[in-house]
């Protein structure tokens, strides 16, 4: 007999949700997290979108350490001198809270404590080496020569899925599937943040930016989220681009973003409290590994469940939903025919029926668009020219809008036929 009904590897949102769900079904669960305390090795941009956490914690909005709810969502195109922003604010977000900014060090510690309270055996500060096999069946995990046995293992180890790779159940990550995220947390008084972002208490801002002004034409996306008394800010750069431009350093790009004339005033007098870097899986559907096998499932970032369409960047809600689906699959399998590759295949079915894999299918191929030169190199410049044409008073006779757009396109070297085609592609895929 196994020592545990299930072992969960990784104490982030996916792992803790899975563990809590398993414990709620009276299963004997071990959760192993490498960081001690949990969350201390984590880097997340920090907006928890959606309501997935209610699946394991109905009162999470009251009890979890949330910073601010997203009242204002921004999308911006930045050129060297200008920014063209859309800032959507709605009182509708007061009633239906759609996203909360979070600091993962706090959130992960809270989730691990909740898992412990729910009866999960939580072990921190130790790294699992690999899955333990008996033939083709996973029978537990291996660490420093010892085998800890369990009927099922849920791998929720995050964006760098070392255990899965070392166990031979998924291929190593490819450059084109990976982006590097670099983040800083900048301390500022709560009131200063409220004033600068036009927010009231508990209201927050979440913005995504196309950085069209970087040295050497490097393509990167920026993000900026308000916490209670700090700002999380960072950039995401595709690994492929980083390798192609080997004079590019991720911290340089963060500096360039921070020093942009539209961003710098928001951060003025702030103190950098922490900085960190991590992998972001952006391979989309094509990079998703086999999600289950005889005795194991992969959930969260480890499975490549994250979503980015250029307007929004999400991961935690996919992590939580997939963790819960994996847990439910174990519960059902144990109540039915037992753990087998066949019974765990229900996991993929569950994901196909939920937003997790649906979104991945709906937006397959989005990476070609979000990491394209149209968005990063052409679009910001064209938009800037159009805006300057409309709003800059230079004493010349005024022009029609179509004339301004035409000239802006011309100077960017974009053919309108190509733009139409690219624009249509983008419109369809977003």
């Amino acid at each position: 007999m196994s020592e545990f009904d299930a072992i969960v590897v990784g104490g982030g949102p996916a792992g803790t949700s899975a563990a809590m769900r398993l414990a709620a079904n009276k299963l004997n669960v071990l959760l192993v997290e490498k960081a001690d305390p949990p969350g201390s090795k984590n880097v997340s941009g920090g907006v928890l979108w959606g309501n997935s956490l209610s699946g394991v914690m109905p009162d999470w909005e009251k009890t979890a350490p949330l910073e601010r709810y997203v009242k204002s969502k921004g999308i911006g195109f930045l050129t060297k001198d200008s920014s063209i922003d859309i800032n959507f604010r709605s009182t509708k977000f007061n009633e239906t809270k759609t996203g909360y900014t979070v600091l993962r060090t706090k959130l992960d510690q809270f989730l691990n404590k909740k898992a412990k309270d729910a009866g999960v055996t939580v072990v921190t500060g130790v790294t699992v080496d690999r899955l333990a096999f008996e033939g083709k069946k996973v029978v537990g995990v291996e660490q420093d020569g010892d085998i800890i046995t369990s009927d099922a293992v849920i791998l929720a180890e995050g964006a760098n899925p070392r255990v899965a790779i070392d166990s031979g159940i998924r291929p190593p990550l490819k450059d084109e599937d990976v982006a590097i995220g670099v983040k800083e947390v900048i301390k500022l008084p709560e009131k200063t943040i409220n004033d600068r972002f036009n927010l009231r208490e508990k209201e927050g801002f979440a913005g995504e930016y196309v950085l069209g002004f970087l040295d050497g034409g490097v393509e990167a996306g920026g993000f900026l989220y308000t916490n209670k008394d700090s700002i999380s800010l960072g950039v995401v750069i595709s690994m492929k681009h980083l390798r192609e431009n080997n004079k590019t350093y991720s911290y340089d790009i963060v500096e360039q973003f921070k020093n942009h004339p539209s961003i710098a005033p928001l951060l003025e007098d702030g103190k950098v409290d922490e900085y960190s870097a991590r992998m972001v899986q952006e391979g989309g559907l094509a990079s998703i590994p086999k999600l289950y096998g005889n005795g194991y499932m992969i959930a969260g970032d480890a499975a490549g469940f994250s979503f980015s369409n250029g307007l929004i960047l999400q991961g935690m809600n996919y992590a939580i939903a997939s963790g819960i689906a994996a847990a439910d699959t174990v519960v059902e399998a144990k109540a039915g025919s037992g753990i087998s590759e066949q019974s765990l295949s229900r996991y993929e079915e569950k994901l196909m029926n939920s937003f997790v894999l649906r979104d991945m299918h709906t937006f397959k191929g989005i990476g070609d668009i979000t990491w394209g030169s149209l968005i990063h190199q052409k679009m910001p410049g064209v938009l800037e020219k159009v805006m300057l044409g409309l709003f800059m008073e230079d004493g010349e006779p005024k022009k029609h809008v179509n004339q301004i757009v035409k000239e802006a396109l011309k100077s960017s070297g974009l053919k309108s036929s190509k733009l139409l085609l690219e624009g249509y592609r983008m419109y369809k895929r977003m």
Binding site: L30, V32, T121, V123, G125, V126, V141, D144, D146, I148
Partner: protein, 265 residues
């Protein structure tokens, strides 16, 4: 008969995060996270090495509030067999004298003991008193500043690292050995041992359990009086750069500034 080893540990604020308050010169520990005193990790490793070779039962012990529990479990996760937390409101404010007395009483309460290991000093107060103090109260032999030690038929053979050189001593058990920082590579905890430690838990003793009256300990029974603390003046570095191939210039510079002396002949 199984060797009985005791390892004394202390939970201290992480030295990298402690700073001196510029106004009243007290230590500000509010920003610091707690860690295991660095030399104690080496003390535990020294005990584990003897256990590897001879087999032994290792008891880790500390006198602290309940927040020390995870650190005791961590020691068990590296290979200690049991952990004792001496926790009692009455010991609050104790200096190294009543602390040594209490720890020695707890060791006696354990029963037979062969070797007690302790760090050479703690990183937060640096007195190095408790190890020798415990030896005194136990009437045991003592080897301080040990960089390595082994056990041989009722004796401890310890290499003591002193300013003048290395001294090798052979002392009979029961003995207390204090271990210098970074003298070995502490092993890591394993998942299996962590699970076992969690399952087993720690032993908590009160002052009454170890058989000491409460008026022998605590702030009032501590002879140390801290009058005031002064900051250590920062040394301004000269920041002079000398090229690597100008080693003679470098040596001359050191001699001229009195950092090193020219040899006799």
């Amino acid at each position: 008969m199984t060797l009985e080893l005791v390892v004394l540990i202390k939970v201290v604020p992480d030295g990298k995060e402690v700073f001196v308050d510029p106004v009243n010169f007290t230590l500000n520990r509010s920003m610091a996270t707690n860690v295991l005193n660095p030399a104690d990790e080496n003390a535990l490793e020294a005990a584990l090495k003897i256990k590897d070779e001879h087999g032994a039962r290792i008891t880790v012990m500390t006198m602290a509030p309940p927040f020390a529990e995870p650190f005791l479990l961590e020691c068990m996760s590296r290979g200690a067999d049991q952990a004792v937390l001496i926790s009692d409101r009455a010991v609050a404010g104790s200096d190294t004298y009543p602390t040594s007395l209490t720890v020695a009483a707890a060791i006696k309460h354990l029963g037979k003991v062969d070797i007690v290991f302790a760090g050479e000093k703690t990183s937060d107060s640096s007195t190095g008193h408790v190890g020798p103090g415990v030896a005194e109260f136990l009437e045991a032999e003592l080897a301080t500043y040990s960089r390595s030690c082994r056990y041989e038929d009722g004796f401890v053979i310890a290499e003591r690292e002193l300013e003048e050189g290395v001294e090798v001593v052979k002392i009979p058990t029961p003995a207390v050995v204090t271990v210098i920082t970074d003298s070995n590579n502490p092993r890591r905890a394993t998942l299996r041992k962590k699970l076992n430690a969690q399952k087993k838990g720690i032993i908590v003793w009160s002052l009454q359990d170890v058989g000491l009256p409460s008026d022998w300990v605590g702030l009032r029974s501590s002879p140390t009086v801290v009058k005031k603390m002064l900051p250590f003046p920062a040394i301004e570095r000269k920041g002079k750069v000398i090229a690597l191939d100008m080693i003679d210039d470098f040596v001359k510079e050191l001699v001229d500034s009195g950092i090193i002396k020219r040899g006799g002949n």
